[in-house]
Amino acid sequence: MSIALNGVRKAFHGQPVLSIDRLDIPKGAQWIITGASGSGKTTFLNLVSGILSPDAGTITVAGTDITRLPEASRDRFRAEKIGIVFQTFNLLQGFSARENVLLGMLFAGHHDAPRADALLERVGLKDKRDQKPDALSVGQQQRVAIARALANKPEILLADEPTGNLDPKTGESIIGLLKEVCGENGTTLLCVTHQPQVMQSFKDVTDLSCLSGR
């Protein structure tokens, strides 16, 4: 298994947000995580990436129970094993496309400029590597974010509404790119979305509302 959740519970200010008795996601899977608003989609990704800790239960990612890791080790684990693509891209302004990708490597403790260039070429931005985010279109910014997420050859790529800020055509190409690059590397892809057209392009769709029984 790539990801396994057992008896996971998470509440904010006493309000239960997520409750998953058991969820196993195989290695290399490409899954859509969906659910009604407030069903805990983003919380689910934050738990799997180790950004949040569950109130109860275990989360095993790539063979490691991340709920047992101290915070600094979880940070390192996230840098090395998990790539994240956000709805709002979350590129650092003032840094070029190339520097944003290299930043993804920095916290995993390495610097590989040729790989950064190769990744940008792979996402179709060979000629844009020295451009800063404000000089790129939203679609190009999301491509940079994908290249950054792949910087450390992650075992798992988490995408939180990756097409939420894109027009349908650009969104389609971004989803296609995500599926392609993850497929090439055997990377597990979990894509949170509520957009039907995105869901249609995936075989496996998990509804957190059903899973949590809410």
């Binding site: 915070e71 979350n90 590129l91 650092l92 003032g94 930043l103 920095l106 610097h111």
Partner: protein, 388 residues
Amino acid sequence: MSLWKIVLKNIAQRKLSSTLTAASIALGVAVVVAVLAIRAGARSGFDQSTFGYDLVVGGKGSALQLVLNTVYHMDRSQGNLPLERYRELAAHKAVSAAIPVAVGDSYRGARIVGTTDAFFSAFQPGIQGRAFHEGAFEAVLGSAAAAQTGLKLGDAFQASHGVEAAGEVHDERWTVVGVMRPTHTPNDRAIFITLDSFRHIKDHRETSGLSAVIVKTRSPGSALQLEYDLNQRPDCMAANPAAVMAEFFSKFDWIPLLFLAVASLVVVMAAVSIFVAIYNSMSERRRPIAIMRALGARRATVLSIVLMEATTLCAFGVLGGLLLGHVLTAVAGSFLTARSGIPFSPFAVRPEELAVVAGVLVLGALAGVLPAFKAYRSDIADGLSPSS
């Protein structure tokens, strides 16, 4: 990509704020450096040990005036010393050299000193040309005096009576036979003529005494005893130039301290402005910090970035301050050298400066502690939420 690159980009993104903050640090450091350098330069310049004068003997009056007039060619002569005292000193067993000095004339602002070749024998200054011959109307110029008056070897000049305002021009003419190489002492600003020719001037013929006698003794102990003995006499006084100048400076110690206090205040205010600038920027940095944390940056890493930023900003200010401080020292030093002949080394780095650099950098780092702690405590999920 490195943490330093992130730090420099953060600083560059707030150009105006960063520049003003670094400039205020630079201003404070520059004043501290300049005050330290000028104080040290003035002290070492006035340090009599570099001159080789053990005692200065003159008529009764102020020890400070005697030293300033005889050694630094400043102020006025305070009266005559009987010639017998000079003869007595020259023959004294504890004295290795007694150099008579007669002053009161000048040429184009350069003071004229009547003396004997004992001056050149005792202090061995390098001379382009030669020393004067006793009894001749000949002159040897200090290097700065040569530049100031425009006189060259072989030129002739007429002295004026008085040292501060051009007075009556004497009839006698002196020929320049030598120019001293720079000695980095006030003697560079003086013109030395033979004592005989000085006393030959019509206005000076009725004056029987000397302005002062410079004394070199055979041992420090004998200088102390001689000073004591001479000060018991009713018609003369002796002063140790080093002791007189040390006492003089001790009266003005509060001035550099006042400057240092003001400059320290400027540096502290600049450190506060670093704190304010970084602290105020923390709300707009919530998202970048959260992004870095989501990418795997540890809390300690973002803490380091903010601390490095505060320290780097401070380091820029310190570097600018060191440069500006030494330029200020060079400007002030050249003015003081022109006025007093005291040499300055404006670009010499003093140990106190290293302490200032270390102190200001620590202050800068401290200014970053609270914002850094705020970054340390920031929550990733909150920082990434759309409202952030």
